[in-house]
Amino acid sequence: MSNSNFTRRGVLKTGSIAGAGLALPTYLSAAAHSGFTNAPTGDTVTLGFNVPQSGPYADEGADELRAFELAVEHLNGQGDGGMMSTFSSKVLDGTGIMGKKVDFVTGDTQTKSDAARASAKSMIEKDGAIMISGGSSSGVAVAVQGLCQEAGVIFMAGLTHSNDTTGKDKKANGFRHFFNAYMSAAALAPVLEQLYGTDRRAYHLTADYTWGWTQEESIAAATEALGWDTVEKVRTPLAATDFSSYIAPVLNSGADVLVLNHYGGNMVNSLTNAVQFGLREKQANGKNFEIVVPLYSELMAKGAGRNIAGIVGSQNWDWKLENEKGDRYAGTNAFVKSFGEKYGFPPSQAAQTCYAQTLLYADAVTRAGSFNPCAVVEALEGFEFDGLGNGPTLYRAGDHQCFKDVVVVRGKENPENEFDLVEIVEVTPTEQVTYPVDHPMFSGGALGSCNPGA
């Protein structure tokens, strides 16, 4: 671990100017650089990885950070190259990005919009980061995306699932690889129909904030399209830790499915409470009572322990994908191998999305031949690629959202080990989860034009 690959971009930049002597006043804004914010001038380029390091999502953030470090290693030609070898675009050659060695800085979002923006700002202003990535909440993603748009750097979103990130809050400088609530709903609907039929009555418990609302809206719309009734939509406070008073009335409400639009600690607690109340063993309307958690991560499954068994949800990616569903999902095993060998356990979907985003950025820069955000945006818009573990994928130009297959999973009844908590039920193909750019759930915003800063 003593390989210090750390040379600040400033060293050479300064060195070259130091000869000129003293005071060389310039406005940071204008053309002193190549016309865009933080243009790398030395032989390194700095990326900013802004992940939750404290607070409830710290473990997820740690996994994202591992993926980022791995991606940087691979870009710089160390390690086994991971998904670079399976990636359909072949311009990355392990010499950094366009010959510049990749450096990175890290920061803590604390899963708070304010703190995340402050952290991203310091990366941009102090460390000269030219791209910001990471995060594990939609509020943070939207806030940081807005900042990057204003500052003129690229934002490659990490884990953010709200429709708004590429919907009403989309930005020209921001890109999302992760899927969203609409896609979750569209992917889940056929599976739910197949598993639970078309005559169901759903009761929604929804975390009372932006992401919860968009997911509730998406799932309710998708299940109602199947013919399900929505009995009730109940909002629960974000700060709630004990959901008993929300869970208790469910069974007597006439519902036979409980949809938990909760994430993180909220989901772990509400699911635990629901199982405690014995909902899964009950009968309602002559059917088995079921619980659905539209989005959950490996870490949440771990937190919920055996309560997750049999619970259906959706994921952006799963580490078993290539083994079970064939080489349409090539790249998965390569990534799992290099991640697993370095850290000793398989990567989470958050790690995969962060790794892919870093590679996609590096690739776009290389293809564009410039670090200029506008060139990068152009290179990413409408980019079709494969081999990053999700199958053929499109970065749609209209909203900077990736379109790819969505994995529907179910908690395993008897997990063999602590990494093997979910099983893949189905992979819903891209076509079924694609929606028009102007879909009502995504309307209300505009990409605007790319901002190179300067």
Binding site: I17, A18, L28, S113, D114, G139, Y209, T210, W211
Partner: protein, 409 residues
Amino acid sequence: MLGLTKKDFTLFVVVIVMVALAPFLLNPFPQGSSLAQMFNAGYPDLMQRFVIFGILVIGFNILFGLTGYLSFGHAAFLGVGSYSAVWMFKLLGMNVIPGILLSMVVAGIFALAIGYVSLRRSGIYFSILTLAFAQMSYNLAYSVLGNPSSNFNLTNGETGLQLLLTDPRILGQSTTPDGSLPVTNFFGIAMRDSYELRLGDWLFTFNAGYYLCGIIMLISFYISIRIFRSPFGMMLRAVKSNQQRMNYTGLNTKPYTLAAFVISGVYAGLAGGLLSSMDPLAGAERMHWTASGEIVIMAILGGVGTLIGPILGAGFNEYFKNILSKINDSVLHQWLGFLPDGIEDFLVTIIHPFVGKGWHLTLGLLFMIVIIFLPGGLVEGGKRLGGMITGRTRRSAKAEAKQRNHPAE
């Protein structure tokens, strides 16, 4: 001078010089050096935070330091101020002045209402009342008042209130000609404009927004000195000292405490307005009780009831918060690279839990150390240090510390 005593004036000048030269003082290491990466704090965002939180704590100190009323919900005013300013940028235009003014007015009205109710009780009952009001504001801002799909989206919930290309901005433009959001400015000077100065290996950044905040902070600081030295300030200290005697001396304590509460609320609103002016997004988290707690921490860290304490406390807290959280293992390896590999790895393992994701731990330990060993906060630490240098005995410094309720420098 300026209506200040010589001692106060000297202090004020020192603070002016510090604020003016902060871009130099906070960047002691040459750019690109390994120490610079972490310890240099002279970049716009952090410098702005230093002075903005300085304002916030200066205001809090007028309430807590002088009257002894411990508000545990002061972050609510910061949040309210932030939202007000962003609304001004959305509706009116991007000049920061209307935003800042509105944030002060709205925070003042909030403080008047909350203070009027809360000041009916004292001690911990007062603290819990303010806490309750602030938590209510936070919870409502996060959920009910921030639903984008409702007609009454005041706060935009989790994401925070942000500028949109579709905002009216009746006195300005909704979008710039190239299709982006306009930036906050002070009569044409963009808040994010900076002037960079290179001196050899050193790079110094002079940011317009920082200097605006700095000037406002100096004005706030000046007003706070005047308040401390005024009859009003003395009355506030008298409230803290003996309310019974106040009442039987023909003085009505309620308007005094309420005035102090409103003044400190306006300060907090101003700080919120400035935060939004520097970065036009207002998140609900800045109203959370931990944010209020942080204000208390900064005040006590610096030295309650002292003039300079709030600035020191705010600086200390913000600095360590920002610096510690950004140190990761590769940075540590870089610092310790000169050591033999074994020792280097060992030291990195030791330090690792205290930096990066462990920054809370270090900050918690620092709080404890300061509170345990410096009951008067950093100001007392400075005095003891000064005492040691000038050869005064520690005892006299301690004796002085006992009187720390006096407004000291």
